[in-house]
Symmetry: C2
Subunit: 577 residues, 2 copies
């Protein structure tokens, strides 16, 4: 098991030193096999995601070399595979598309700058131990965001499948433009696009059972099924070459430069950095969240752990390296990491071997990509992203928590209509606002004694005993500025409805903190009760809360006492009156 406690103390640590020391031949073989399979899977993915980001296809290969090595050195997950991923590619296109035209040198330079900024942000977050910030993206918001991004990406690829040209900045525009273009569909392209899509869906659902019937084991069948896109690429490239379909209007990838990833530098332009700051931050956070969830899911299966703050450092280094080698923003991808895991990768060395594989591909394989139809790559993307779309979250949150439901819905709708950046910000904003709204209206229960115990519960829900002179109130929320006024109002109203009252006891078992505003409110409540001849007591005040109250005049000035248990308070006060 990985010693993440040490990591906490020495940042950045180099986990590679840990697993590298125990590396042996058996591990090497496992890692090499996994690397081979991931390489085969990664080549079409890298090309496709580069096109999705609006970049030349070879950039996808470049972004799958150095980042893998850097992650292998600094990362804490044993199996995470870093590189271009769908959602981050879409966010990259959205961020740059506003400021440069696709195909221009500026566009590529902006992508490099964005990767660099994202890397710096991730490194800073790692050094400042800000990994916890990712927790503010709730599961439902992430789920809604990923589904909406999947729909957006799929819609953006359909034009390539249809062989038409449409523009659209949001889902509705895209779908509307596509509908208008139906008469202009390029039938040959469409046939190949739909054929590839159908084949790839079949590969997902039907190939594995077939392979298992042919005698493959479940896991091997899984892994083999994941290489289906390669088959689609080989077949459609061959057909296009054989029938020279590019002369009939089928768009092909064309000449892809051969060679090692180039050495590049980001643009040092403050105005550009300012423009890209927010997108870079969002890309960093989304990339981090996606990567960490994949890493944690896979680590848990082998009872390993990952260290989120160290992951920030590793992803930061990966993105900086992507920027220095002609790439674009990268992160840990779900599908390829699962394949890596299932193919038996034991250490991050598998990532280094995969990087070698991709390097060989970019040195020698690119001429073979000349006749690859763009529609095949689009089919690859569509099939990959549609598996991200999952609307069950709506049903689940509707039944359990309306606030979560509203947050998912807002995220989905705003992402579809106004783009990924605004969608994500809206999701976080709405979920935080709803949380704050809830805490601003605390549940306050009048409590009574459960007969035969020393336990107090809500008089509205349980058969409990109460007394006319002692009112027990349990506030089910920490007291802070947004809800302290509500407590004042509630106490005032409760007192008005209990004419014989001599004591109010606030049972503080659910009060986890009291801020300065709430302290003022408690003082106000005490002085108002005192004016009516009623004493205010506290019971079951927690240690951390008590520690802070001791620094104030409040406890000294309080008209009543502080009791360890609510039971003691009620016994003491009912005997005294």
């Amino acid at each position: 098991m990985f010693h993440h406690h040490n990591l906490k103390k020495f940042l950045p640590s180099i986990p590679m030193l840990e697993w590298g020391r125990r590396y042996d031949r058996e591990t090497l073989v496992s890692d090499l096999v996994a690397a081979l399979i991931v390489t085969v899977m990664l080549i079409p993915q890298s090309l496709a995601y580069a096109l999705l980001a609006g970049l030349p296809p070879e950039v996808g290969l470049y972004a799958s070399v150095a980042p893998l090595v850097l992650y292998a050195i600094f990362g804490t997950s044993r199996v995470l595979a870093v590189g271009p991923v769908a959602v981050v590619s879409l966010m990259t296109a959205a961020a740059i598309g506003e400021h440069a035209a696709i195909g221009t040198p500026a566009y590529g330079a902006f992508a490099i700058t964005l990767a660099f900024m994202s890397g710096v942000i991730l490194l800073l977050m790692g050094f400042l131990r800000l990994g916890f910030l990712a927790h503010f993206l709730s599961h439902p918001v992430i789920s809604g965001f990923i589904s909406a991004s999947g729909l957006l990406i799929a819609a953006s690829q359909i034009k390539t499948l249809m062989g038409v040209d449409v523009q659209g900045h949001n889902f509705i525009d895209l779908v509307a433009s596509l509908a208008q273009q139906i008469p202009h569909v390029h039938l040959l392209t469409l046939a190949m696009g739909v054929g590839s899509t159908g084949f790839l869906f079949w590969v997902r659902k039907g190939l594995k059972p077939l392979l298992m019937r042919l005698g493959f084991q479940s896991r091997s069948a899984d892994v083999l099924a994941k290489t289906g896109p390669v088959a689609a690429i080989v077949v459609t490239s061959y057909l296009t070459w054989a029938f020279q379909w590019q002369l009939q209007g089928v768009k092909i990838v064309g000449a892809v430069p051969q060679g090692l990833p180039p050495l590049t530098l980001p643009l040092w332009d403050m105005a550009l950095w300012k423009t890209l700051a927010v997108p870079a931050l969002l890309i960093s956070v989304v990339g981090f969240v996606e990567s960490v969830s994949v890493g944690q899911t896979l680590a848990a299966k082998r009872r390993q752990r990952i260290a989120p703050n160290q992951e920030l450092v590793a992803l930061g280094a990966s993105n900086v390296s992507a920027a220095l080698t002609g790439g674009f923003p990268v992160t840990g991808g779900f599908a390829r990491s699962v394949v890596n895991f299932d193919a038996g990768a034991k250490t991050p060395a598998a990532g280094i071997f995969t990087a070698l594989g991709i390097t060989l591909a970019s040195l020698f394989l690119t001429p073979a990509l000349y006749f690859l139809p763009q529609a095949t790559l689009a089919a690859t993307i569509v099939v990959a992203v549609l598996s991200l779309v999952d609307f069950r979250i709506f049903k689940r949150t509707w039944g359990y928590s309306k606030a979560d439901f509203v947050a998912v819905l807002a995220t989905l709708l705003v992402t579809l209509t106004s783009g990924v950046e605004l969608g994500l910000v809206t999701g976080v904003g709405v979920s935080l606002a709803l949380y704050l709204y809830r805490t601003s209206r605390p549940h306050i229960a009048e409590v009574g004694l459960v007969p035969g115990t020393e336990h107090f519960r809500n008089i509205m829900r349980h058969e409990v005993g109460t007394q006319p002179t002692v009112l027990g109130l349990r506030v089910d929320e920490s007291l802070y500025f947004a809800n302290s006024r509500a407590l004042e109002d509630h106490v005032n109203e409760s007192v008005a409805s209990h004419p014989q009252l001599a004591h109010v006891v606030l049972q503080c078992s659910a009060i986890n903190s009291i801020d300065a505003s709430a302290l003022e409110s408690l003082e106000a409540i005490d002085s108002r009760l005192r004016a009516s001849g009623i004493l205010l007591h506290l019971s079951e005040v927690k240690g951390p809360v008590m520690d802070r109250l001791k620094h104030t005049h409040f406890l000294r000035d309080l008209s009543g006492k502080v009791y360890l248990t609510h039971f003691q308070a009620v016994q003491d006060l009912s005997s005294s009156t």
Copy 2:
């Protein structure tokens, strides 16, 4: 006592119908006396705050007529006096100053539009029952904001006291420019300005004791002392007239048009509305908070209550009326409301009488203001706002709550360096962020039985009994997306350090809600524990939390049980193992 429960049902209600029915001669006399005193006090204040807002002095009078009447009809405070106030005037100047030059017709039209927008926002908030939004401004943030605004206002008036002309958009710029202008001071203006300031400070501190020694009662002495500014105005106006100081460079108010407030309309310009939207919102919220705190403080003294949502409607109507009668944004002011209260106002009719008084002043008194030196008005403002500056909040929050301290400090610094709008937004943002940060790292205590009771407390703080097979954990925070991961980590670590463990019991007495993300985390904890042969139980789950869990599979799939009390859980589980 005011029946605010009825108000809740029928918005907008007209509280005037309530107090109007019981109006009698005695009340009339009290209200008339109070109105006379408030009128005398309000005239110089209105002029001064109009100048502070960058508007001609008569606009201050216009803004003190219709709003008072509208508030009297719709307001729920018996004594609140509505009109121009220092902080809102400063915010008005900040909002308009960027888009129009002082003295131009556009500036005045923008002020009218701003008042109209602010009125509409307040009315909307009232109809939508959004009064609770004001609670998100914590007491410390308000305190820091008011102090910083006081300093800003005082700094902005010193140029008038010195008879120089300086520009500056923040406190540091202002002070620096003032220092540079020292050689160009107009000595006669300075003498009069400093003299007036000194006199007004003496009136605050020294006049009341003097009057009491002369036989006045404490309260009458208080009220008389509040009319000190009128004396300063009369004396300096007389001196200026007598010696014709305006010819020697003393700036005077000059010709103020005589007549009733004009009928005006806001500009219907969408671009302008967009620009002013955020300032109008901030002015509305600040005005509402200031007004409600004054209203609540004074209402409590007479055991009356005010209804915040109805107050929004009343202030909204006041601001709309200000916009229709040539005014600018208004709200309930502290000093004048206290004077109204101390002078014995019994009903809002006093406000209507004050409005009549101001109308008479704007009809007949304006020629008398011709020779009024601007330095005297500046002195009035300086003395009024310096009483708002109170740095004790720093000491109080430092000792009690560092988060509150940071929020006050941020509010103060940003307000001084970057203006009122950014300062306020920063204050709210910082205080919410710190609250969220705290809730994202919950306090989790291992609990044991307090001997001789059924009560469980933190094993680190109390002498309690525990068992090796049963681990009791109390989470001191509601579980939601930002902290559910922290709980997972904590449970994992606790389990690792308790080798004999067979049961984990989460004592849920402080868990006030569990959102969808946290529910997923609980499921993950349960399945991970189950894999290690440990059962997960819950105890003391609150009613509202239980209601929602019942809608899910969680309780059915839970490896352990749900106990009413933690004591029962521990008894049951320790006997079973």
